[in-house]
Amino acid sequence: MEQTLQMMSLGLVLAPLLASVVAGFAGDWIGRRGAHSVTIFCVAISFCLSIYFVNHFVLAAAAPINFTVYHWLVIQSLQLNVGFLLDALSSMMAVVVCFVSLLVHIYSIGYMHDDPAYQRFFSYISLFTFMMLMLVFANNFMQLFFGWEGVGLVSYLLIGFYYQRDSATLGSFKAFMVNRIGDFGFLLGIAAVLASFSSLDYAAVFAKAASLQQQTVTIWYGHEWSLMTVICLLLFIGAMGKSAQVPLHVWLPESMEGPTPISALIHAATMVTAGIYMVSRLSPLYELSNTALNVIMIIGATGALFLGLLGIVQNDVKRVVAYSTLSQLGYMVCGLGASAYAVSMFHLITHACFKALLFLGAGSVIIAMHHDQDIRHMGGLRRYMPVTYWTVLIGSLALAGLPPFSGFFSKDLLIVAVSASGLPATGYATACLTLGVFVTALYTFRAFFLTFHTTPRMDETTRSHLHESPAVVWLPLVILAIPSALLGIVMVSPVLFASQTLFVNTIHVAAHHSAMAELATEYHGAFKLMLHAFVTVPFWLALAGILVAWLCYEKYPASPAWLIKRFNWVYRLLLAKYGFDQFNQTFVVGSTRTLGRFLYQVTDVSLIDGFVNGVAAVTGLVSSVVRRIQTGFIYHYTLAMLLGLAGFLIWLLWG
């Protein structure tokens, strides 16, 4: 049985790679139809296998399987392996990845229909699925890092998919650079793990973690740091890069330059959640450091509120959703900080569904608008695109967190869990998350009303061409709308509160981090939770957000302009995105350029070039003198030879 499961997991991971290779290298040969058929088929295989795994490891609660596939490198006692860890957490994550990936594959048939680089696109998204699955199933840090870098690479390729556009290449470049900073910390964290545990296997590291809790290291001269805090924070820097947390979030809005299906798959549903997954996976380490958890909570809460606010002033429909992703990732990270890993994972899953739905819905609108993404040019699309309208409405309600939609359960429980955690940052985090609910509802429904309600503002030619998108586009929307609406009710009890919860074998929560335990005592079933919602603050805040959005954009369309005039400094602050980009441009880029110019002019031009050119100049000077000896006349050479001979003879005889 175990043998079979191992083979199945190999098939699950490698099928998308195979599809990617076929579509990528034999793309011209198999054609457009062949490319999407083979990739969809292989991802469908992965999806079916992951469903089986969920059934086996989650529902049947089978024991985790940890096995090595391949010895990659052996350096004395250090073994670097490719190995898989099959358990509830990885299965759940895999099913989310495969589900969204499969739907995005199908959706792309419609969305990328007119694109000349069709095969390349399908090859990339399958490659992404492979990399993500490698990351998810990794049983050691090295493979985690492989998948981590792999998804980063594919993300780079896909943001720059329209490489003829300057903004796309710059966006991909920015994403890559910012992720590099995160990965630098991540790599240092892995190195610290290796140095202190002398192993990179999860199992070995977790087994030894508790014994090293009191260990300290000296980073700065004379300052002792807890080893666990250092490791956790370094690894979390990697998560900040990948999961776009403050201040490394700046790449995510830029990544909207990629095709919309990619935004749904990579920059909303799966890749950006890699950081959340990683922290959940490494919960036995994070549980040992309260400092790290506090930092995580503060960073997450900051992102959840303040990056959400930016979504209110954006006019690009994709960017609104992008900022909402940043905000929701902040929620998840904050939950991690409260040791409520299971709730964060739950929010990750529901978020993957409704955020993919919103992105694909936005894509559907963009198709109808002939690739105009500005919501100021939309309006009144409800009449033309009923399927898109209703599915996006479900997604928006889920995102805003209204019962009975899935987002309500995950977000509400997340806020309760955070408020129940006893860490010093609890107050700040709870306030941020609670206010964030209002902001979330506001920007979501602002975009929603401006797109689907209000009077149409597009020009006449566009309006006459408006129609519902083809079935390959709206079918994934409908399929995603179902879990967006229902997943919460179905999953909340088994995931979080059953006596044997789904993640019981995989997520470790220390006894003194009581958020989850307190949550469980207050929980009395999904329906009670929904009824209870009517007396909680977040619910009314969400309703208020929707109401404000309705008032400002539907009822009194003149009011936003008045607000902008009245609170001009706030508006400009939000429009400048708190100046992060400006700061980076001025200080990071500016100082790097100054340093580069210094190195170029002083080191390179003066020192290195001076030396190299000097050698050449001296050689030329000497040879211009010496060359006069070489006359080209044979008799001169003969004479020199004779004189030399004579000289030697004289030396021999009389010397």
Partner: protein, 101 residues
């Protein structure tokens, strides 16, 4: 009786004349080739003289080898000369200085 010293003197004089011919001559390559022949003959004279003096046949055998090689070298030299003439329509040494630095 001609003594060994006389032969060596003759050989030295021939050698000197031929070296002078090579170095001083500026006009043409044929003279250089002839001078080289003369150079070898001077050496041959030395060989024969010493062979006779020491009553050793080896010197004379060596002379035959030298003559053979000289003949071959002359043939190659003349061939090169012909090629040079075809290229430059001249065999004046002063004009052959492409290797000038």
């Amino acid at each position: 009786m001609v003594s060994l010293a006389n032969y060596l003197m003759l050989s030295a004089v021939l050698f000197g004349i031929s070296v002078a011919g090579i170095v001083i001559n500026r006009r043409n390559i044929v003279i250089i080739l002839m001078c080289i022949e003369l150079l070898l003959l001077a050496v041959n004279t030395n060989f024969v003289a010493f062979a006779s003096f020491w009553d050793d046949i080896q010197g004379q055998i060596f002379v035959l080898f030298v003559l053979t090689v000289a003949a071959a070298e002359a043939a190659i030299g003349l061939a090169i000369l012909v090629v040079i003439f075809r290229q430059h329509h001249s065999i004046a040494i002063d004009e052959l200085s492409q290797l000038k630095g």
